[in-house]
């Protein structure tokens, strides 16, 4: 009962935040809305017994990445979007229609999935809590998912260098 209420509350928060991201004209407000959305998502992750992911969501997404966005917005002095003439007529309407269509298909596909048939994994929530979520993730990262883990390192390394190179001012 309580979990259902919690879920619906978090869901509403997330959805409102997402809608605001899409709808608000001022980019700054969009960033803030997205932060709210991330926070809602973090709560949802918690309810799904993914504590590590939830915390990482807040630390990385909600703060680090969003701060990056804020810095860039301030750097380039972004204003509200002007009401100029749209190039494709009814662009907004077409976009919404297309989105609704995709939504419809997704719903049709994802409903009525009989999940209980496919449960094969061993990591039940009790088991996870026994070992500890973070510890388990750490263990798995360094054993089963070692290669992707190292690749991630390289990827981030490349990303840093790329960002520095791209953001550099031309030397005189």
């Amino acid at each position: 009962m309580a979990s259902t209420l919690v879920f619906y509350f978090l869901a509403i928060v997330t959805t409102v935040g997402a809608v605001s991201v899409v709808a608000l004209p001022n980019p700054m407000y969009c960033v803030f809305s997205l932060i709210v959305t991330f926070l809602g998502l973090a709560g949802l992750y918690l309810s799904l017994n993914a504590q590590f992911v939830a915390i990482v969501q807040i630390i990385i997404y909600a703060s680090a990445i969003m701060m990056l966005f804020l810095f860039v917005i301030m750097l380039i002095n972004l204003d509200k979007e002007d009401k100029k003439v749209l190039r494709i007529p009814f662009q907004k309407l077409l976009g919404i229609v297309f989105g609704l269509f995709v939504f419809l298909v997704l719903i049709i596909v994802l409903k009525d999935v009989n999940i209980s048939v496919h449960i094969k994994g061993v990591f039940t929530p009790q088991y996870i809590n026994q070992i500890g979520n973070t510890q388990l993730i750490g263990k798995l990262l360094l054993s089963k998912y070692l290669l992707p883990f190292q690749t991630m390192g390289v990827l981030l390394f490349v990303g840093i260098i790329g960002a520095v190179v791209l953001g550099r001012r031309k030397s005189r």
Partner: protein
């Protein structure tokens, strides 16, 4: 150089034909046939059409004429066309024509003959329009080909009928089975023969398909001699003679043929009375003589028709070559009103020309006398209506001698209607004179192969008797008396014609006074060729042009051009529209990628989901 090569080829062909002819003479009449099978051409189920040759006395005579007279004309042309830049093309066409004519004559089945038939029509077109810079020559060539086409169309229909009825195109098979498959004078056989005759009429220029022959005089004179006197126009006669078995089963058609022949005879001769161009007079003369030949076929005297064909080839070719010599002497002038008294300048030409004129008028003992007389005699005794034909033929004799000698007198005798110092009248070179003399010789002796008075004198008919039954027979004596009487009658009429020509041309006497309305009307009718060309233009040419124009505007421009151009425009606009996709805006590209990705995912979902 090319002329000598071409003439040599003709000479070799002539020698070969001569050898075949002599081998025929040595054999008995039943053996006088030579069949050569070359190869299978169109095997189609039960229908087998081959390429093969058949030579019997009739085709032997034809090949002799084609190669012999052709050889003379080739020699003549070497000098006549000497200064022409396209002389090579000329000899190519001439030889091609000879090949086609021989193919026509030697073919052993209808289809192969039709190939030769069409080919001679083509060569005629090419040679008439030889001087293609002259618009009148091109028009004449087109006219010849198109009018020929009408005849060929009828020939084709006849071919279809033959195929349906006989199932084969072979001449000997058809002749053999004709009497079994047809009832005498039934509608079918008459229809078939009628269509064959129309085909022949197109090629041999009988009324009403005669209009192309006078215009065909635009071509060089040797061409007129070869094609329009000796060979191509006789292809129609050959067709009739070759199928005489078929035609003898269709008496109604034969009557029709005789009628058309005699009508053309009189019609053309009347026009020739008032023409002023040398070659036009000779052209209408050819039409008239062809009428004689068709008349002979129509009354069943096929051997006589062949006889007249042969003699006509001699003297008409002679006359045309002589005319060419005159034109050459007068430096291109063809109007006889601008000539006169040139006999002293070109004695050899005038001598041979007069011989030819005597021959065509039917003066004893030259060739034309015997052949024409044979026709008249056959006409007289054929059947009840025959008197009319005989009378028409006789009147034709009068007109023939009149217009021929009008020509002779106006050109060679009388006052000089040209300025002597301006036109340098010169005799032709020997190589042009030699063929004239050869043809003149044959014009004299050529008729002596069928002399009815002497028993056994019909050598010609006997030669052909394996194929045709000769009609000039010497069996009964009272026929002989009748024949002699008729002979003298026709001779007298011919001399009367010459006398009348002398009166009007040299003594300047006139038949109709200048102010006579009837005379003037008649004169202009004749001079304008009975306005036939104008009538054709009104009934046929203008409506056709109108319809063609209509179709052009309606279909060609609006539909076909529109669709073709429209396709081009469509592609262009499609390209332009598609180009606008590449607008350079990143958003568009991103959205397109998104759209594509979503589509792919959907496809995967639908394929792998059990739900749908």
């Amino acid at each position: 150089m090319s002329g000598w090569i071409a003439s040599l080829a003709m000479l070799l062909s002539f020698l070969v034909s001569l050898s075949i002819f002599f081998s025929f003479l040595l054999h008995s009449p039943q053996d006088r046939i030579l069949s050569i099978f070359l190869f299978d051409w169109i095997p189609f189920g039960s229908l087998k059409i081959n390429v093969g040759f058949m030579i019997d006395p009739v085709s032997s005579i034809m090949t002799l004429i084609v190669t012999g007279v052709g050889f003379m004309i080739h020699l003549y042309s070497i000098a006549y066309m000497r200064e022409d830049i396209s002389i090579v093309r000329y000899f190519v066409y001439l030889n091609l024509f000879s090949f086609s004519m021989l193919l026509l004559v030697l073919a052993d089945n209808f289809l192969l003959m039709f190939v030769g038939w069409e080919a001679v029509g083509l060569c005629s077109y090419l040679l008439i329009g030889f001087w293609y810079e002259k618009p009148s020559a091109i028009e004449a060539g087109k006219k010849a080909f198109i009018v020929n086409r009408v005849g060929d169309f009828c020939f084709l229909i006849a071919l279809f009928q033959i195929l349906t009825i006989f199932g084969t195109f072979d001449f000997s098979d058809i002749s053999r089975s004709a009497s079994e498959l047809f009832m005498k004078d039934s509608f079918n056989v008459n229809l078939l023969c009628l269509f064959l005759f129309f085909g022949a009429a197109g090629k041999s220029a009988q009324f009403p398909l005669h209009v192309w022959l006078p215009d065909a005089m635009e071509g060089p004179s040797p061409v007129s001699a070869l094609i329009h006197a000796a060979t191509m126009v006789t292809a129609g006669i050959y067709l009739l003679v070759r199928n005489h078995v078929l035609f003898s089963l269709a008496p109604s058609t034969l009557m029709f043929i005789a009628l058309v022949g005699s009508f053309t005879l009189l019609f053309a001769a009347s026009i020739a009375l008032v023409q002023n161009d040398i070659k036009k007079v000779l052209a209408y003369s050819t039409l008239s003589q062809l009428g004689y030949m068709f008349l002979a076929c129509g009354i069943g005297a096929y051997a006589t028709a062949m006889f007249h064909l042969m003699t006509h080839a001699f003297f008409k070719a002679l006359l045309f070559l002589g005319a060419g010599s005159v034109i050459h002497a007068m430096n291109g002038e063809q109007d006889i009103r601008k000539m006169g008294g040139i006999r002293s300048y070109i004695p050899k030409t005038s001598f041979t020309f007069i011989i030819g004129s005597l021959a065509i008028s039917g003066i004893f003992p030259l060739a034309g006398f015997f052949s024409k007389d044979a026709i008249l005699f056959s006409a007289f005794k054929s059947h009840s209506l025959a008197i009319l034909f005989w009378f028409a033929g006789l009147f034709g004799v009068l007109m023939t001698s009149y217009y021929t000698f009008r020509l002779v007198l106006k050109v060679f005798y009388g006052d000089k209607n040209f300025k002597e110092n301006e036109t340098h009248v010169h005799e032709s070179p020997p190589i042009m004179i030699f063929p004239l003399f050869v043809l003149a010789f044959f014009s004299i002796v050529g008729g002596w192969v069928s002399i009815p008075m002497i028993s056994g004198g019909d050598v010609f008919g006997k030669f052909l008797s394996s194929v045709l039954n000769p009609t000039v027979s010497v069996d009964s004596h009272h026929n002989l008396t009748l024949e002699l009487v008729l002979m003298f009658l026709s001779l007298g009429i011919a001399l009367l014609g010459i006398f009348l020509a002398y009166q009007t041309c040299c003594k300047k006497r006139q038949f109709f006074s200048d102010s006579s309305v009837v005379g003037m009307r008649l004169f202009s009718l004749l001079e304008n060729k009975y306005y036939i060309d104008e009538i054709y233009s009104l009934i046929l040419v203008r409506p056709l042009r109108f319809i063609a124009n209509l179709f052009f505007k309606l279909f060609e421009q609006n539909i076909i051009d529109a669709s073709v151009n429209g396709t081009g425009r469509l592609v262009k606009s499609l390209g332009a529209n598609l180009r606008s996709l590449q607008d350079g805006y990143v958003k568009t590209y991103a959205v397109s990628i998104l759209f594509g990705a979503v589509c792919i995912i959907f496809l995967l979902v639908f394929n792998f989901s059990s739900r749908f």
